[in-house]
Symmetry: C4
Subunit: 394 residues, 4 copies
Amino acid sequence: MGSAPADLVRTIYVDGSEGRTPRLPTDLTTLEDAAAKELTATAFGYVSGNAGAGATSRANRLAFDRWRLLPRMLRNTAARDLSVSLFGQRLPSPVLLAPVGAQSVVHPEGELASARGAGDAGVPVVLSTAASHTLEDVAEATGDRPRWFQLYWPSDRTVAESLVRRAEAAGYTALVVTVDAPAFGYRPADLDHGYLPFLHGAGIANFTSDPVFRAGLPDGADHAAVVAHWARIFANPSLAWDNLAWLRSLTRLPILLKGILHPDDARLAMQHGVDGLVVSNHGGRQLDGAVAALDALPAVRAAVGDAVPVLLDSGVRTGTDVVKALALGADAVLYGRPYLYGLALDGERGVTHVLRCLLAELDLALALTGCTSIDDIGPGLLAPPGPLATPAHS
Amino acid sequence: MGSAPADLVRTIYVDGSEGRTPRLPTDLTTLEDAAAKELTATAFGYVSGNAGAGATSRANRLAFDRWRLLPRMLRNTAARDLSVSLFGQRLPSPVLLAPVGAQSVVHPEGELASARGAGDAGVPVVLSTAASHTLEDVAEATGDRPRWFQLYWPSDRTVAESLVRRAEAAGYTALVVTVDAPAFGYRPADLDHGYLPFLHGAGIANFTSDPVFRAGLPDGADHAAVVAHWARIFANPSLAWDNLAWLRSLTRLPILLKGILHPDDARLAMQHGVDGLVVSNHGGRQLDGAVAALDALPAVRAAVGDAVPVLLDSGVRTGTDVVKALALGADAVLYGRPYLYGLALDGERGVTHVLRCLLAELDLALALTGCTSIDDIGPGLLAPPGPLATPAHS
Amino acid sequence: MGSAPADLVRTIYVDGSEGRTPRLPTDLTTLEDAAAKELTATAFGYVSGNAGAGATSRANRLAFDRWRLLPRMLRNTAARDLSVSLFGQRLPSPVLLAPVGAQSVVHPEGELASARGAGDAGVPVVLSTAASHTLEDVAEATGDRPRWFQLYWPSDRTVAESLVRRAEAAGYTALVVTVDAPAFGYRPADLDHGYLPFLHGAGIANFTSDPVFRAGLPDGADHAAVVAHWARIFANPSLAWDNLAWLRSLTRLPILLKGILHPDDARLAMQHGVDGLVVSNHGGRQLDGAVAALDALPAVRAAVGDAVPVLLDSGVRTGTDVVKALALGADAVLYGRPYLYGLALDGERGVTHVLRCLLAELDLALALTGCTSIDDIGPGLLAPPGPLATPAHS
Amino acid sequence: MGSAPADLVRTIYVDGSEGRTPRLPTDLTTLEDAAAKELTATAFGYVSGNAGAGATSRANRLAFDRWRLLPRMLRNTAARDLSVSLFGQRLPSPVLLAPVGAQSVVHPEGELASARGAGDAGVPVVLSTAASHTLEDVAEATGDRPRWFQLYWPSDRTVAESLVRRAEAAGYTALVVTVDAPAFGYRPADLDHGYLPFLHGAGIANFTSDPVFRAGLPDGADHAAVVAHWARIFANPSLAWDNLAWLRSLTRLPILLKGILHPDDARLAMQHGVDGLVVSNHGGRQLDGAVAALDALPAVRAAVGDAVPVLLDSGVRTGTDVVKALALGADAVLYGRPYLYGLALDGERGVTHVLRCLLAELDLALALTGCTSIDDIGPGLLAPPGPLATPAHS
């Protein structure tokens, strides 16, 4: 498994020299600008849009930029292994596709293309409840590769149970419960466009395909009635810690909470028997002004110790970002918007391109920091801002 | 009362999807750019202009950006109540319209439209002494909603007394005495345009309608003579702490001082029997280089403890700004320039739009930080800049 | 004397409203952009150009921006006095024209127009050795107002002595010896243009008019020979502390050293009997990367205590900059490039305009900070960056 | 030797005034922009391109900007000596040409022109293994001036030995072994262009001219086969500390390691008998996010004490940058991309121009900081960011 990333690097350098048109950029921080030129304003607004004035989105990036790497030399890094173990599964790298809903907004094949493209790059998928395609269809697209299911916990418990049962049946091996979205964030791009994909039918396939959901519909319900029913049960602002016991009793899948930022919430999660955490601020799309996810990570890790895996999303763009997240305590990262831009620009191939670039840079970062495995990445690689020492006089 | 903001949110999301032309932006930090395109240079210069090179105006915004929110999850925030109590009155939210003079410069209906628009959004008005419409007319426009009166204390004490008596009679329930304007600030936009609204008759309606002021005019005074008389008595650079006793003896209305930044001045205010404070630097329009109001807030709050309400203005733009101000010790905020831009762009409806956006984001911020009431907002929601913890090694 | 600035303010506000074309901007930080549009590239490059990549010039401005003012309210500031005493002279304000050489590059009347314009605004002149007009002519233009002479100490001691004697005879009352220019700075604007004013004859009038200098010329010396002779003696890189005794013995005028940044040099100056210091980095025109003058000021003041006056230049642009410099320990400031831009844009009137704006903002800053005299300005007016206090929790 | 820089200064100022077309800029931080206009996209991408998103490249510059110089006055700096001693050789200044490969990409005469241009400016060359011209030809171009050889240590030890023997024979007097490139960095500019110079035959002259390398080629090898063979042996990701003993046994030339950032690696280098270090992050071209070289310097110097020379590259642009690097512990600097831009813009003359500007500014910086020799440069010249002292009150 460890040889794949090396192949990726070689392929990029050598294939790259042969040219391909149109090419996506290899600087993954520039994908957003490339996508802005291709997508409609509403589609680009939906994918790139942040809560409020975008302060948290910027903070996410600044938090990565603040840390510097202090590499080691002459350590024989010819053979490198990017694989990690999570919940008893060996994954090719510490990167998973972050759950993003309504992907048909940017590409007709949506999550199916993302799943295939990620499969080509060896990256597991975390599928969103709000997918444009059913979890069963996406499961088929991922083949025999690992897949997890993200749960927006509906206010109708029977629908929630049905979704979990279907995810189990379709071979999803972990449940990622998003807890930072008791309500939609205040997102000016969507508000200015008067556009929410779900009200147009995108991203509700897991509901319209669900027998329990359908049973709740009035006879002869038209599209508007279906959407209205979805709107009634989708959001669940009354969720509280005590509700977790019910979910815990429902399934033996590992349960992760996504959206934890406060170390006290991390401790509460441990007390409620949660199996893992995703430190996240929803990519800056929920609470404008929320702390950067990377800034919250060390305190969350300190709060839970080694008890459970801690993942991170929000702001990851490059291979060295992955190194920084791992050095600060993450076991793996979820990778979000950049693959959406790849999907928007070139479908399945675009997703593969973006992920191969990411893994190539990660693999090179191991070589260049003196690491041969993910376990070699630790806080010793990190330098604080500013001089590492000051001259005696100053 | 607590249900109104939830309605606002629902309306914005659902109505927003139906479209309306022309629409004002929902990112309230972009209103100034939108207004710049519509207003004349003199009108825009008057509203947006800052003292000097604008350092304090920028500092106000940076102070808000510096703080990060550390939200809590899974706390059942389905029911939320934004209301607060001030001086024995229950207000729908911790937001009041800041006093801004001469609003006819940007819209012919001026303060009347602002008062009606604020009323539609459930926001009380603090009317400026320098209004373009008389305090009696604005009182009528606010109907039975709470209204406060801002006092520029004229150097002619008989006129000052007359203004206070009229405010009492018109149902204003608090006096906000501005203390940071013993002289007009040095405002290059107005100076470059050679434009002061008051010299053109805008913003002196409370004087020209005042019997005591009129009695001081020479017989047959033309417009120029009226303005000259106004200029003689409007500013009062000799005001000092000792003068407060006279005002205190004059009225039973609660007296707030607006423009306090130094904690020692906050203590002096307590010694002089003041009922409340507004921490403010006049939106950066008086002393260029003055400390950001938000930076001054915690020290002022620490100086007065819980003795009196402390409000804040200067730099508030978004719903999460309100959360930050309250977490740092404010009981409520005054909201200024953004509503002027709403007024400029769409009159009364524009004011309502801006305030509904603000309250919607505030309401969502409660949901997303795990709060169900304004009292739940405290310093525990705030994260300092940078990582919340550092890995053991670094 | 204290009433003049108040007159200035009134005039600006009231006259300003009457309009004048062309008008110079009243935001003094924008003068450079205005001048850039009017001047030739070589002239603008000479005046605005900095050493190297301009880091020190930017640092000068950032140092002013870093400090915030914490104003006091309700202190009766109706009557304000800007005057200060230096070396037994009462000056109308703590502002003097900084010495700038070769002013004929931007305006044919050069230093004569500057001196007249400064006189109209009540600002004393510090005339540069490298003036385009003779010190005698400029003395005449300043009339009976205070004037100081800046000395570039030539390597020919007889010429140095002649300059000092002439300055004494022409009524200059202090000598400002520039010590930060043992060589010209590395100034890319001038280097790129291949343009040094002095090689074209601008800024050497005090030499060509000097009998001792002329006596050193070969018979029949043409323009090139005069310039070459000037180039041989103008710079004096071998100057050292011991040389000061000779100058001290030469004159009873107070001697200030201009260009001191290190507190140890300030102490050495005291040991060598110097009468005053000008903390300065030559406006960022000599050593790129030099510390901001304002950052150096408190340490220099601490080093000399109250023994001698300490002045500051480099980066002063606005009236609140003057307040900050004084609060950090300066007794007065030298004001440089902005008046050059005023001179370039409107000659003598432009200089007056710029200085009146500066003094108007300074006067208002006193009113708005609760001061009635320059002595009221102290470190208590300064706030450090960031919150003045933090809430208990954080 | 010490007089040369003074000549440079004089020449620049005086010759500058005579004009020359086309002129290169004298602000060396602007050379990149000038080169961007002249070079092809692939050539400019190769020279200016950084690893990843360029964070380390920016960090390198910010690290220089963060430090401020605190100059001393009146120290008689008329005579200045820029020379330094390294490994028993006296060098005219503490500046050497950094090794940069494949220079024919920007100019047909490549390293030959650089060597001649550097010679004209009195600057020694560190020649890259990846040069476009053979080390023997470049040795001839450098004449009798000092030259060092940079070694990319090939994975084929017999080729490595051959390169070292040839360097010895050609008069190179030090070996600079690059240790931060076990693999090519992830460089989006090259990847986007699908362009690596070496795959096009540029930068492999020292291999194609090498008898041992050629002996390893199959009979009748065409260009593609030569490049493929080069690709097999050029990179050596398995290098480790233990390999140094072999190199040490091979040659009596001083061995420097280039690319050390971690102080523990500096200590390891001392334990393995290395003769010198170059603190470097490869100009930000290898590991994006690596610590700024200047930030790493003081800790490396502290780790090795005065045992061996420590040089620095990565981010040096101006003469005052050299002063800062030396004040923070470097004995000399390697100067890289700016001379490539000079080469690109004007060949040999462009290289000379750039270096003369650099040395002129360095020479002036000595004069203006009160130094007369390189030994006078120490940490006492450095000021930390911010005020040097704070007023008692604040």
